[in-house]
Structures are given as structure tokens and as C-alpha cells.
């Protein structure tokens, strides 16, 4: 395998936003223990803006680093801006990922999307 970038290692060493949010506004849950990667992503939304994000991840170094990075990227963003965050953006923010680890950035994007969807679902329910 290619080596991880400095930035990946830094986020692996000191992952940001580890943990759960009590009473989150949205939860994303993606991955599968069979594949060796599971991400749980929690968001807190106020006035259509993501004010907090946390994660729990079972997975390799890249899975943890992308989780950490995506929670960093998303904080302070509007829902629309957050939905525009691609897996590529996550990987780039980490200084790149080894080719066989790109799927971790996909997982991070999916975890975020899934948390936002959960938030939108809940919102709909509250409105109706």
C-alpha cells in the first residue's frame, strides 16, 4: 500500500469531533462490519446551519481520518453547502488518499449525506 499523507496521519493521531451528540438533529449510519468500516455521524443543526458534528468509526486509519475531516469541514456550513461536500473534497483536504483507500472518503460523504437526510426527514415530520 502507498503511505498515508502527513495530514491523514495527523487526523488519525488526533481525530477531531469524536463521540456522540445527545439528542442530535440527524444521524448518519453507513458501512458494514463485513467490509471492515462503519461510520456513525451526528449533526446538530440551527437555522439551517450545521453547528456541531461528531462521529464514531470502526475502521482503518483512512476511515478515521476521513470521519474526522468531514466533521471538521461540515461545521458552520449550511445544509446546502454541506450537501455539496464531495468525497473528493474530503480526500483533497487530507492531502490525498492511497487509491485503495478512496472508498473511505466515499463512506464519509455518504455518512454526512445520510445524517442530513435523517435531519430533513425529522424536520418534515416536525412540520407536518
Amino acid at each position: 500500500m502507498e503511505a498515508y499523507s502527513e495530514k491523514v496521519m495527523e487526523h488519525f493521531r488526533n481525530p477531531r469531533n469524536v463521540g456522540e451528540i445527545e439528542n442530535p438533529d440527524g444521524i448518519g449510519h453507513v458501512g458494514n462490519p463485513l467490509c471492515g468500516d462503519i461510520m456513525e455521524l451526528y449533526i446538530k443543526v440551527e437555522d439551517n446551519t450545521i453547528v456541531d458534528a461528531k462521529f464514531k468509526t470502526f475502521g482503518c486509519g483512512a476511515a478515521i481520518a476521513t470521519s474526522s475531516m468531514v466533521t471538521e469541514l461540515v461545521k458552520g456550513k449550511s445544509i446546502d453547502e454541506a450537501l455539496a461536500i464531495s468525497n473528493k473534497a474530503v480526500a483533497e483536504a487530507l492531502g490525498g488518499l492511497p487509491p485503495i483507500k478512496m472508498h473511505c472518503s466515499v463512506l464519509a460523504e455518504q455518512a454526512l449525506k445520510s445524517a442530513i437526510e435523517d435531519y430533513i426527514e425529522k424536520e418534515k415530520k416536525t412540520l407536518t
Binding site: F12, P33, G36, D37, K56, T57, F58, G61, A63
Partner: protein, 401 residues
């Protein structure tokens, strides 16, 4: 940072004594052993001397030893060589589901070429059942290939019995002895094998050199076609310094093997006990006693192997999740799956393998660092949280397994 290297099963540092004997063969005694002038004959005499040493260490005859570029070549040579030389007799080959890729992949290649392969299962400790071998043999079986010691979980297979069965049925028997040679006794007659592969870099010799034992009379065609080297069985200019170094490594290993095995077994058992005492929700992979003296392999539930490895590396400890050569794969180890581990637990395995330079304090250090790493990663794991809520005694039952 001083690195604590606990991945001797992946490769070993070359012993300085080995490097020393190699040196003159690079610059002064650099002759081609096939040349008839003195410089060539001198190189030839040196490699023949080494062939003799390796033969003695294996209980074989000099002429039965062919030098190769390593364990992978030995396995390819043995398997493809026997298959092609005997395909008029049959096309069935028996192997196990815990072999190294260097056995599995040549087998898969032959499968594509029309050979019929049986991959025998193993029990939860990684053992092949000799009865399964017996039952798998058909009239078309031409080769059985079962490894001596498993590179991931350290389990030592019942080679002697399997060899006896192979002989009863007049079927050639190959064993991949890459992990055992130099570490536990390996005698081709005692083990009843016809072909046996070894690799120097697993026993403090240089990388890029190995040997294949081929019992006299065994029908094998060459793998490397070309010149007349190695009595026409393996072409290519001989890697003279590599061969000389290999010989020295074997000499040293033969001298110290018993002593080293004892020392390593002590360290192994200390680490196993320590991990059981300090970490829960774990299981020891591989056979509890019938295993290599230097192998410890644990599954840690709720965490993933690579993240443990990276964390250990950050603390100066070099370990492994299993086979180094499959580290570019995302699949969990086929060996752990064959042992019956669920995917998510197979993903959370770590292998520590010790060697000549491992010290007692190294084990202490691992026992100090590892529990913290597992705890940190578990605290980040969504699996741990849930499991913990559901059950709290799984660690106990895992231990008793």
C-alpha cells in the same frame, strides 16, 4: 525513536555475520559459477559447499537442493512443476484453505488451465485434518500441498501424517516450510515430503534467495527455463552472494534453534497471558500449543486491525495484521475466515512475531501500550458501544473458546 520490531514472520534483519560472509562474493569472488576458469570454479565450489550445508540442515542430499529467488518461486516451481510433469497421470491437486498466497495463487492459475483443485477446510485452530486429506484423494490426484507452519496464526500442521497418507497413495507431497525452517526442526524424511520450499529472509538471511528441496526421483519440470544452471533444473546466473549468505544463516539457525525456540516460547506465552489479563473481548487465533514459538495472533473485537497497527507504529512498535503481502487488499485474511472468524472480528486481528533480537522488556512495553490503544479505538467505535450495552460476558466466553 527506537523501533521495537515484532514482525519477524514478515521478514528478518540479515544477521551481520551473514552480511560479512557475503561481501567478498560481490567484489572479489564475483565469478560466474558456470565459467570454467578459476574465478568461476571458486564461486561454484562455494555454492556447492552451501548446498551441502542446507541439505544437511534438511536431512536431504545435496543434489536434491535447488536454489530459488525465495519462497514464492519455490512454491510456484513445486506446484506448477509437478502439475505439468504429471498431467498425463491426472489433474487433481489438493491443498488447504489456509495456505500462503504463494501456494493459493499458483493453484488458481492451474485451475484456469484445466486442473482440478480441492481446498481443504481447517478446524477453529487452523489444523488440517489428515483424514480429510485421505478422503480427498482420487485416482487423478497428482499433488498435495499443505504448509508446515501457518504464517498468520502460527499453527503447525500434521505434515508427517499427511505425508504418510500421500506416500500410501503414491501422490507427491509438497510443503511450504518458509515459516518453519530455521525455527523448528524440519527434516524431509521425518516429514515424509517430496518437495519443500524455504526462504532465506525469514531466518536472518538475505531477501531474494531461497531453496526448493526436490526428492530424488520426483518428476518436476523447470519453472525458470533457460541456461543449464542448477543441473538444468533452474536457469539464471546463480545469486552467489545470496546463496553464501543463506548458507551462513542456516548454519547459525541450526546452532541456536533449540535455545532460541525456548526463549521465544517464553516471550510468546508471556504476551498471550498479559493480553488476556489486560484486555477483554478478545480471542487468541491459531492453535493454543501446536504453534510456532514466536507467533502471537489475537482478534480484538470492535476495533479494526490497521488502525491498531498505525497506533502501535506511532508508539514505535512494528506489528502486522497478518500477511504483509496482502496488505494492499481490503478483504480480511482468508486464513482467519477459514478458522471460522466472522468478518468483523477477522478485521480486528493483530499478529506479533518475535525473533532473535526481541527482549523481555519489549513484551512489557507492548503490554503497557496496547491496552491503551485498544481502549482509545474502542471508545471511537460504534460497535463497542452497542455490544457493551447488550452483553458484558463475551470476553469471558471468548477466552474459554
Amino acid at each position: 525513536m527506537n523501533i521495537i520490531f515484532l514482525d519477524y514472520a514478515s521478514t528478518t534483519p540479515t544477521d551481520p555475520e551473514v552480511v560479512k560472509v557475503m561481501l567478498p562474493y560481490f567484489t572479489e569472488r564475483f565469478g560466474n559459477p558456470s565459467s570454467i576458469y578459476s574465478l568461476g570454479q571458486e564461486a561454484r565450489a562455494a555454492i556447492e559447499g552451501t548446498r551441502g550445508k542446507i541439505a544437511v540442515a534438511l536431512g536431504a542430499k545435496s543434489k536434491e537442493i535447488i536454489f530459488t529467488s525465495g519462497g514464492t518461486e519455490g512454491n510456484n516451481f513445486a506446484i506448477k512443476g509437478v502439475a505439468y510433469a504429471n498431467e498425463h497421470k491426472g489433474n487433481h491437486i489438493i491443498t488447504s484453505s489456509v495456505e500462503h498466497h504463494a501456494v493459493i495463487e499458483p493453484c488458481k492459475f492451474l485451475e484456469k488451465k484445466g486442473f482440478d483443485l480441492t481446498y481443504l477446510p481447517v478446524d477453529k485452530d487452523g489444523l488440517v485434518n489428515p483424514d480429510d486429506v485421505r478422503k480427498a484423494i482420487t485416482k487423478k490426484t497428482i499433488l498435495i500441498s499443505i504448509m508446515h507452519a501457518n504464517n498468520e496464526v502460527g499453527t503447525i500442521e500434521p505434515i508427517k501424517e499427511i505425508g504418510r497418507i500421500a506416500r500410501e497413495h503414491n501422490v507427491y507431497f509438497h510443503t511450504d516450510s518458509v515459516q518453519s525452517f530455521g525455527h523448528i526442526p524440519v527434516d524431509v524424511n521425518d516429514l515424509n515430503v517430496d518437495l519443500l520450499s524455504v526462504s532465506a529472509h525469514k531466518l536472518y538471511g538475505p531477501k531474494g534467495i531461497g531453496a526448493l528441496y526436490i526428492r530424488k526421483g520426483t518428476k518436476v519440470i523447470p519453472f525458470m527455463h533457460g541456461g543449464d544452471q542448477e543441473r538444468k533444473r533452474r536457469a539464471s546466473t546463480e545469486n552467489v552472494p545470496g546463496i553464501i549468505g543463506f548458507g551462513k544463516a542456516v548454519e547459525i539457525a541450526s546452532t541456536y534453534m533449540n535455545e532460541e525456540a525456548k526463549m521465544l516460547t517464553t516471550l510468546r506465552d508471556k504476551l498471550v497471558k498479559g493480553i488476556f489479563a489486560k484486555i477483554d473481548h478478545i480471542r487468541l487465533n491459531g492453535h493454543p500449543t501446536q504453534r510456532l514459538p514466536n507467533n502471537v495472533n489475537f482478534a480484538f473485537e470492535f476495533v479494526e486491525g490497521e488502525s491498531m497497527l498505525l497506533s502501535l507504529d506511532m508508539e514505535g512498535i512494528a506489528a502486522s495484521t497478518g500477511s504483509a503481502c496482502s496488505s494492499s487488499s481490503l478483504e480480511p485474511s482468508h486464513v482467519l475466515l477459514a478458522l471460522g472468524l466472522p468478518h468483523e472480528i477477522a478485521h480486528g486481528s493483530l499478529r506479533f512475531t518475535f525473533g532473535r533480537y526481541t527482549k523481555n522488556e519489549d513484551i512489557d512495553y507492548v503490554l503497557e501500550v496496547l491496552p491503551k490503544i485498544v481502549e482509545k479505538l474502542r471508545s471511537m467505535s460504534p460497535l463497542y458501544k452497542k455490544k457493551n450495552k447488550v452483553t458484558n460476558f463475551s470476553s469471558k466466553s471468548a477466552k474459554e473458546n
